[in-house]
């Protein structure tokens, strides 16, 4: 199939010099190496600081205790960062996060109805593993139903999936709000603590299970990294270049659903965090290659979560407010992106 006559060679008797003039590419590559190296150092430093600073209770207690939290932050950070990057690739939109599909609302509805129906006292007696299992199963099942129902049939509009996700999210949130209004105030306080993302008191077994799931998902995405680069060019171009866009979309959506469900069920909803690290990764790298953006976004997530927690918990003496700070920063980035997009 390949051409033997090359226009250049035939016409002018010269041959193109590959690699000539791609100084931009070389610069980008150098920048990428720098970013990856810098972030790796930062992530390790943040972990070291978090584990070792301000130890009062003795090493044999502190290290496992904090180690578990660090592990939770790494698992959740990686899950959210990678799922957001590939979700933005699929939707060719830099201001979307998978939460637009209504994961957070579903999780909140689930938690609210549990507290509402069972009561906080009875709920405390239900095992964490069971709760986690139910939450993950429900969220994955709901998203699969949404994707397969809308995507599997004759219609193949990704935007339809997103719109239905938005509408369903609103519906679920309204139902949640209704129950919360009718709730006993003290029960509501219990609920509220469950709804804020928190890395404290994460069960070890859940952590191990989540780590395995996240690892499998990330490996899958990594094997797809070159295809994802093409998908980022948009559906038509991807199809023209031979990518089975429908199958790829479905696969990516399912992986995203699993990643987000696991991380949400593990620590609670984090909406803007993925947006923050994904966009930071694009800006730092100046490239959209998934071979770079996936690991860099994941590293950024670890640095932000572990570093932020170390700063807040040990240096400023505050507890569990990290998710609030991150949501605040993420919200600001979101608005900045909207404003920047509007200007263009």
């Amino acid at each position: 199939m390949s051409v033997d006559v090359h226009p250049l060679d035939a016409a002018r008797g010269t041959s193109a010099t590959p690699g000539a003039g791609d100084s931009t590419e070389r610069a980008l590559r150098r920048r990428a190496r720098l970013v990856v190296a810098g972030l790796t150092v930062l992530a390790l430093a943040a972990t070291a600081v978090y584990l070792t600073v301000d130890v009062r209770a003795g090493w044999e207690f502190t290290l496992p205790f904090r180690g578990r939290r660090v592990a939770a932050m790494v698992v959740v950070g990686v899950a959210i960062a990678t799922s957001t990057v590939v979700f933005q690739t699929l939707t060719t939109n830099r201001i979307l996060t998978p939460s637009i599909l209504g994961f957070d609302s579903l999780y909140q509805l689930l938690q609210t109805s549990l507290v509402f129906v069972l009561g906080s006292y009875a709920l405390a007696s239900v095992g964490v593993v069971e709760q986690f299992g139910v939450a993950v199963a429900l969220m994955v099942a709901a998203s699969l139903a949404l994707f397969l129902g809308l995507f599997g049939g004759g219609r193949r509009s990704l935007h339809l999936v997103l719109l239905v996700g938005v509408v369903l999210g609103t519906l679920l949130r309204s139902a949640t709000a209704l129950m919360q209004r009718m709730m006993d105030p003290s029960e509501f306080q219990v609920l509220q603590s469950r709804l804020f993302a928190s890395f404290t008191g994460v069960d070890e077994r859940l952590l191990a299970a989540s780590a395995v799931v996240v690892l499998v998902c990330c490996t899958l995405l990594w094997t797809m990294r070159r295809r994802l680069d093409v998908v980022a060019l948009g559906r038509e171009t991807a199809v023209a270049l031979g990518v089975n866009h429908r199958r790829t979309s479905l696969l990516v959506l399912v992986v995203v659903a699993v990643l987000v469900s696991v991380s949400t069920a593990l620590v609670g909803p984090i909406t803007f965090f993925g947006l923050l690290v994904a966009n930071l990764a694009y800006v730092l790298l100046g490239s959209h290659r998934h071979a770079l953006t996936l690991p860099v976004a994941a590293l950024l997530a670890v640095v932000t979560l572990v570093g932020g927690q170390a700063l807040l918990e040990h240096l400023l003496g505050m507890e569990t407010v990290l998710s609030v700070v991150i949501e605040f920063l993420g919200g600001i980035v979101f608005i900045a992106l909207l404003v920047a997009g509007g200007r263009r």
């Binding site: 199939m1 390949s2 051409v3 033997d4 006559v5 090359h6 226009p7 250049l8 035939a10 041959s15 193109a16 010099t17 590959p18 690699g19 000539a20 003039g21 791609d22 100084s23 931009t24 590419e25 060719t92 939109n93 830099r94 193949r156 990294r225 070159r226 295809r227 680069d229 093409v230 980022a232 060019l233 948009g234 038509e236 171009t237 199809v239 023209a240 270049l241 031979g242 990518v243 089975n244 100046g286 490239s287 959209h288």
Partner: protein, 261 residues
């Protein structure tokens, strides 16, 4: 000079139909475009030219009918096989990601190397860049280019894809006289020197007449006329296609349509 005979098949559409609601944008089109040469698709706005091209290129599912390229149904053939056989330049070339020209053109090699760029890929990329006079702009980002340069970058990507069939949806968009002629000359050379089949949707019937072997005229979703430039470039035929009076003069032995006043 021997013309490499890399294409032997054809693009054959049978009963091709696309409907939006009640309106058939492409209405039961059956046509065979034999391999080789430059084919222009002309017709008024809304005639279904781009829709036809998009269905041939698998970008749009058809409501009825089928398209067969070199014996394979485009709807069922594996995507990467078709992507090595048929490339398309689209009208809308908006990208959500920031790429350099060379990165974009390298994506044209994806059907061949699946993203693992080889030395041969690089040669194709540099050739395509040179072919479109873009070598100096290879390291520039697409959003730093003019509309015409962007257009050429996307054409370079399609060329680097190294397909037997090259579909161009309004390739002269955004191009000035110099580059418009350059683009048509390039299409001609791709057909003559490389044995590729070029199918281009064009608005300027004079460009179509000057550079193509065959013109297919569409109107209201159907093929209104099909033939050599000499057969199509006649006042009666053009008047029928465009619903307006078009005078045709022979200038230097070429038919030139005058429709400006």
């Amino acid at each position: 000079m021997t013309v490499p005979t890399r294409t032997r098949g054809a693009i054959a559409a049978t009963g091709l139909t696309k409907r939006y609601g009640e309106t058939a944008v492409v209405d039961d089109v059956s046509i065979e475009l034999p391999a080789g040469g430059v084919v222009s698709v002309i017709g008024p706005n809304g005639a279904g030219k781009s829709t036809f091209l998009s269905m041939v290129a698998r970008l749009l599912p058809m409501d009825a009918g089928r398209v067969v390229v070199d014996g394979d149904d485009v709807a069922t053939a594996p995507g990467d096989v078709m992507a090595r056989r048929l490339g398309i330049l689209r009208q809308d070339n908006h990208l959500a990601v920031r790429l350099t020209v060379r990165e974009l053109v390298t994506f044209g090699r994806y059907p061949h190397s699946k993203g693992r760029t080889t030395a041969e890929d690089r040669r194709h990329v540099e050739d395509a860049l040179d072919y479109l006079d873009l070598t100096d702009l290879g390291g520039r980002f697409l959003d730093e280019l003019s509309g015409g340069q962007r257009q050429r970058a996307f054409v370079a990507m399609v060329l680097a894809q190294d397909t037997d069939y090259v579909l161009l949806d309004e390739p002269l968009n955004n191009l000035d006289m110099v580059h418009a002629r350059g683009m048509m000359r390039l299409a001609r050379r791709a057909a003559d020197e490389l044995g590729r089949t070029v199918v281009a949707v064009l608005h300027d019937i004079n460009f179509a007449a000057a550079w193509s072997d065959r013109i297919v005229a569409m109107k209201d979703g159907r093929v209104a006329a099909s033939g050599t430039p000499a057969e199509i470039m006649r006042p009666a035929v053009l008047g029928e296609i465009f619903d307006m009076d078009v005078a045709v003069h022979q200038i230097d032995g070429r038919p030139v349509a005058l429709y400006y006043t």
